[in-house]
C-alpha cells in the first residue's frame, strides 16, 4: 500500500496527546478568565460571560472526546455509586451561574431533594452539562432541568423553548454519529456521548438510554436520559 507511511502516524494516540495539550492551554485560559472576572466583578461585561460559556463548551467537548477514547479502548473505569439527583443538577446549574446572572435566560430546576440515582456522576454530569449548554444556545428564554423517577428508571430531562431539534437529531439512532450538518454546525456529539454513557449504566436486565423529541413543555426540544 502506498499510504503505509501515512498510517503509521497512529492517529488515535496523536489525537489524545493533542487533546491533552489543548486542554492544558484551555485550563490556563479558564483560570485567567476566572481571575479577570473577579477583578472586574462589579461591572457586567457580557463578553466575559460569553467567554466563559465558550470555554466551558470547549472543555466539555474535549472531556467527552477523551472519555470516548478511553471507552473505545476499554480504558475507562466506571465509578458507580449512589448520588442525590438534585445535588447533581444543582452542580450543573451552579456551573452555569455566571452566565445566568446576565438574566436573559432562565435555568429552572425541578427535582425532589430525596431522589437518588446510581451512576458515575462525573460522566453523567458531563453529558448533561453539554446538553444544557446546547439548550442555552438554542433556547429563546427558558431551559428546564428536571429529574424524576419513572418505574425502574431515574429520568433526567432537559427541556427548552427553542424551535426544536432538527430532523436529523430526532428519533435517529444516536449509537452512530450523525452526518455533520455543515449549515447548522450540528455535530450531534453531545447526544452521541450521552447515549454512550447512558449505555454503560446497567442494573439487572436494564440498561440506560436516551430519547429526544420536540415535546417540551415550552414547545421546544426535549432530551431525556434514563438511568436504571
Amino acid at each position: 500500500m502506498s499510504n503505509t507511511s501515512m498510517l503509521s502516524i497512529n492517529f488515535p494516540s496523536l489525537l489524545t496527546s493533542s487533546v491533552h495539550d489543548i486542554k492544558n492551554s484551555l485550563r490556563v485560559l479558564r483560570t485567567l478568565h476566572a481571575q479577570l472576572e473577579s477583578i472586574y466583578q462589579d461591572k457586567k461585561h457580557i463578553e466575559f460571560k460569553q467567554l466563559e460559556f465558550e470555554a466551558n463548551r470547549m472543555n466539555n467537548s474535549l472531556m467527552q472526546l477523551l472519555t470516548l477514547y478511553k471507552i473505545d479502548f476499554a480504558q475507562y473505569s466506571l465509578t458507580i455509586d449512589e448520588h442525590s439527583a438534585s445535588e447533581l443538577l444543582e452542580d450543573i446549574v451552579n456551573q452555569h451561574s455566571t452566565l445566568l446572572s446576565l438574566g436573559d435566560i432562565q435555568l429552572i430546576m425541578e427535582c425532589d431533594s430525596d431522589l437518588l440515582c446510581y451512576c458515575d456522576s462525573t460522566l453523567i454530569s458531563n453529558a448533561l452539562c453539554t446538553l444544557v449548554n446546547n439548550a442555552q444556545r438554542y433556547c429563546l428564554s427558558k431551559v428546564l432541568l428536571s429529574a424524576t423517577q419513572e418505574d425502574d428508571y431515574v429520568v433526567f430531562c432537559i427541556e427548552d423553548d427553542s424551535s426544536g431539534y432538527p430532523e436529523n437529531l430526532l428519533t435517529s439512532d444516536c449509537k452512530k454519529l450523525p452526518e455533520l450538518d455543515m449549515t447548522t454546525g450540528n455535530t450531534g456529539l453531545g447526544l452521541f456521548f450521552a447515549e454512550t454513557v447512558a449505555q454503560l449504566h446497567v442494573q439487572a436486565d436494564k440498561q440506560g438510554f436516551i430519547m429526544t423529541d420536540n415535546n417540551s413543555r415550552f414547545g421546544g426540544s426535549r432530551f431525556k436520559l434514563y438511568l436504571p
Binding site: 481571575q35 451561574s97 455566571t98 430525596d114
Partner: protein, 540 residues
C-alpha cells in the same frame, strides 16, 4: 444560605497570589472575616498549628514542597484538624490519577478549578451539612469509642429517610469491621448488594472474607472487582494483603506492582512495594521502589531513614558498595538528631566496610551503633531493634542480643506477623529452636503472672490483683490476655463498690485500647455492654 461564614476560620492554601485573592474575595462576599493564606505546604502546616480552622481550601498542585495530599496527611497525622473541620482539595482536573493517589487520607470533597463563586459556596455548604449530620458518629470515632459510634449510626438510621441511608450503612459496616464484628458487617454488605451491585459493598464482602481467613474467596472477589473496575486501587491493596497471608509473595508483588503503576505518587504503596520486592529478592524492582519512596518522602510525613538503609542494602546485595556509600552519605545529610537514622547509618557503615574488607573502620562503625542502641534502646522501632539484635549476635555480643529479643517477644507476643519475622531471623542467624524456646518461656511467664492476678481476684483481693496487672501492663502494654483481665477486674471493682466516674473512664480507655489492638469482637463486646449498663444505672 445554610452556612454563615462570619464566624468561620478559613485557611486558603494556594501558590498563586491572584488565585488566593479571588478565593478570598468570594469568601469575603459571603461574610467570611477570618481568612488566613498560605502559599505553600509548610506555611499551611504552621498556620494549622496556630489556629484550629473550620474550613481548609487546599490546592493540590502547590508549586514547591509538599503537594495538597501531603499537607492533608501531615495535618491529620499531627491532629491539627478538628474532627468537625472541612478539608476541600482543589484540583485542576477530574483527572483520576491524582484523585486515586489518596490511600487512607481522603479530603472531605474535591473542587475542580476553575470554579465560580456559586460552585465554591455550594461545595462548602454541602460538606458542612454532611459533617454536622454525622457529628455524633465522627466525634465518637475520634474519641476511640467505636461501640458508641456504631450505636449512634444505628440511631440515625432509625430516624432518617433514605437520603443518607447508604452512607450510614457504609459507615456502620466499616465500624463493625473495626471492632471485629464480621457477621454484622457481612449482613450489611449482603443486604446492600441484594438491592444493587455497588463496588464498595462487594469489596466489603471481600474484606470480611479476608478477616475470617477465607483468603481464596477474598482473592476471587478482589480479582473480579479489579477486572470490572481496573482502577479500583483499594481492591488491589486488599488483594495484596490476601495473597501475602497465603504466603504467596510473588503474586502479592505483582498485584502491588500493578497498583503502583496506577498510582506512582502514593508513597505508602511504593514503600510496601520496596519491602516486598526486597523480601522476594527482586533487586531491580526494589531499587526502583526504594528510590521512588525516598523521592516522594522528601515532603512527606511518611519519610523514613529505613527507606535509605533499605536502598543501600539492596545495592550491597547487588555488589555495588560505592552506590551504597552514596546513599549512606545522603542519609546522613537528610536526617539530623534522629536516633533511628543514626543507628541505621552506623549499621550500614559497618556492613559496607565489612564488604569492602576494611576491618578497623567496620569495628569503629559497629562500636558507634552499639553505643547509640544502648542510649536509645526502647525509643527505637521494633523492626530496627530486631535488625540490631541480628547484628549484635553476628558480632559476638550474644548477651545483648538475648536481652533485646526477650523484650521484643514479651511486648509483641500477640502480634503474629512480627513474631513470625522474629522467628525467621532467629532460625536463620542464631539457630533453630532458639526462638521457640524463648517464646515458650515467655508464654509461661505470662501465664504465671495471669494466674497470680486471677488467683488474688478470686480470693477477693481486688486491690492486689489490680496491682499485679497494672505492673504487667506497663511492661507489656500490648498483651491481649493481661489487658482483657485488667478490664474484667476493673468492671467487677466498679460493680461491687460505689460508682466512680474515674474508674469507668479507665475501663473505657482500656476497652478502646483493646479495639485498637484488634482483639476480637466476641471478647470485647460483652465487657462494653457491662460497662454501658453500669453507666446507664449510675446516670439514673
Amino acid at each position: 444560605m445554610a452556612i454563615n461564614l462570619t464566624s468561620k476560620k478559613i485557611l486558603v492554601v494556594e501558590d498563586q497570589a491572584i488565585m488566593r485573592e479571588t478565593i478570598k474575595h468570594i469568601l469575603g462576599a459571603f461574610g467570611a472575616r477570618f481568612i488566613v493564606e498560605a502559599e505553600n505546604g509548610i506555611n499551611a502546616i504552621t498556620a494549622m498549628r496556630i489556629d484550629k480552622f473550620d474550613i481548609v481550601l487546599c490546592d493540590y498542585n502547590l508549586l514547591r514542597g509538599k503537594n495538597g495530599q501531603q499537607v492533608l496527611e501531615e495535618a491529620r497525622f499531627l491532629k491539627l484538624l478538628p474532627v468537625s473541620a472541612i478539608f476541600i482539595m482543589v484540583t485542576c482536573e477530574q483527572s483520576q490519577e491524582m484523585v486515586l493517589t489518596a490511600l487512607d487520607n481522603k479530603p472531605d470533597d474535591y473542587l475542580i478549578k476553575p470554579f465560580n463563586r456559586q460552585q465554591l459556596l455550594s461545595r462548602i455548604e454541602r460538606c458542612h451539612a454532611r459533617k454536622k449530620y454525622l457529628a455524633s458518629i465522627e466525634n465518637e470515632i475520634d474519641n476511640g469509642n467505636i461501640y458508641q459510634a456504631i450505636y449512634n449510626c444505628e440511631k440515625l438510621l432509625q430516624l432518617d429517610g433514605k437520603k443518607m441511608r447508604l452512607q450510614l450503612l457504609k459507615m456502620q459496616a466499616e465500624l463493625t469491621l473495626k471492632v471485629g464484628d464480621f457477621k454484622t458487617a457481612e449482613e450489611i454488605y449482603q443486604d446492600i448488594l441484594h438491592e444493587r451491585e455497588l463496588p464498595w459493598a462487594r469489596m466489603g464482602l471481600g474484606i470480611v472474607a479476608f478477616f475470617l481467613g477465607y483468603y481464596d474467596q477474598a482473592i476471587k472477589i478482589f480479582q473480579d472487582l479489579i477486572e470490572q473496575y481496573p482502577v479500583m486501587l483499594e481492591a488491589y491493596d486488599w488483594l495484596v494483603k490476601a495473597q501475602e497471608s497465603l504466603g504467596n509473595d510473588e503474586h502479592a508483588l505483582s498485584s502491588l506492582n500493578s497498583a503502583v503503576l496506577l498510582s506512582p505518587q502514593s508513597i505508602l504503596r511504593q514503600k510496601k512495594l520496596a519491602a516486598l520486592a526486597d523480601k522476594t529478592d527482586n533487586l531491580s524492582l526494589a531499587k526502583k521502589a526504594y528510590t521512588a519512596t525516598i523521592k516522594l518522602g522528601k515532603n512527606s510525613i511518611h519519610r523514613s531513614s529505613g527507606d535509605y538503609s533499605g536502598l543501600a542494602n539492596v545495592y550491597l546485595k547487588s555488589n555495588a558498595a560505592s552506590e551504597a556509600l552514596k546513599v549512606l552519605y545522603e542519609l546522613n545529610q537528610q536526617f539530623h538528631n534522629d536516633p533511628e537514622a543514626k543507628i541505621r547509618a552506623a549499621l550500614l557503615e559497618t556492613e559496607i566496610h565489612q564488604t569492602k574488607g576494611n576491618k578497623a573502620l567496620a569495628q569503629q562503625a559497629y562500636n558507634k551503633a552499639f553505643k547509640l542502641s544502648e542510649q536509645f534502646n526502647r525509643q527505637i522501632s521494633r523492626e530496627l531493634r530486631l535488625e540490631m539484635a541480628k547484628v549484635f549476635h553476628l558480632n559476638g555480643n550474644g548477651e545483648i542480643c538475648d536481652e533485646i529479643l526477650n523484650d521484643l517477644v514479651k511486648t509483641n507476643i500477640d502480634d503474629k506477623a512480627f513474631i513470625k519475622n522474629l522467628v525467621t531471623m532467629c532460625d536463620a542467624v542464631i539457630g533453630e529452636n532458639y526462638a521457640e524456646t524463648l517464646i515458650q518461656h515467655i508464654k509461661k511467664e505470662l501465664v504465671d503472672i495471669n494466674n497470680k492476678g486471677v488467683g488474688l481476684f478470686q480470693e477477693g483481693n481486688i486491690k492486689e490483683a489490680l496491682a499485679v496487672f497494672e505492673k504487667a501492663i506497663i511492661k507489656m502494654p500490648d498483651n491481649h490476655t493481661i489487658l482483657l483481665n485488667m478490664i474484667k477486674i476493673i468492671i467487677h471493682d466498679i460493680k461491687t463498690s460505689k460508682p466512680d466516674p474515674e474508674k469507668i473512664m479507665s475501663a473505657q480507655s482500656y476497652i478502646n485500647r483493646a479495639i485498637q489492638l484488634g482483639i476480637p469482637h466476641n471478647q470485647i463486646s460483652g465487657l462494653q455492654t457491662e460497662l454501658d449498663t453500669i453507666q446507664y444505672k449510675s446516670h439514673q
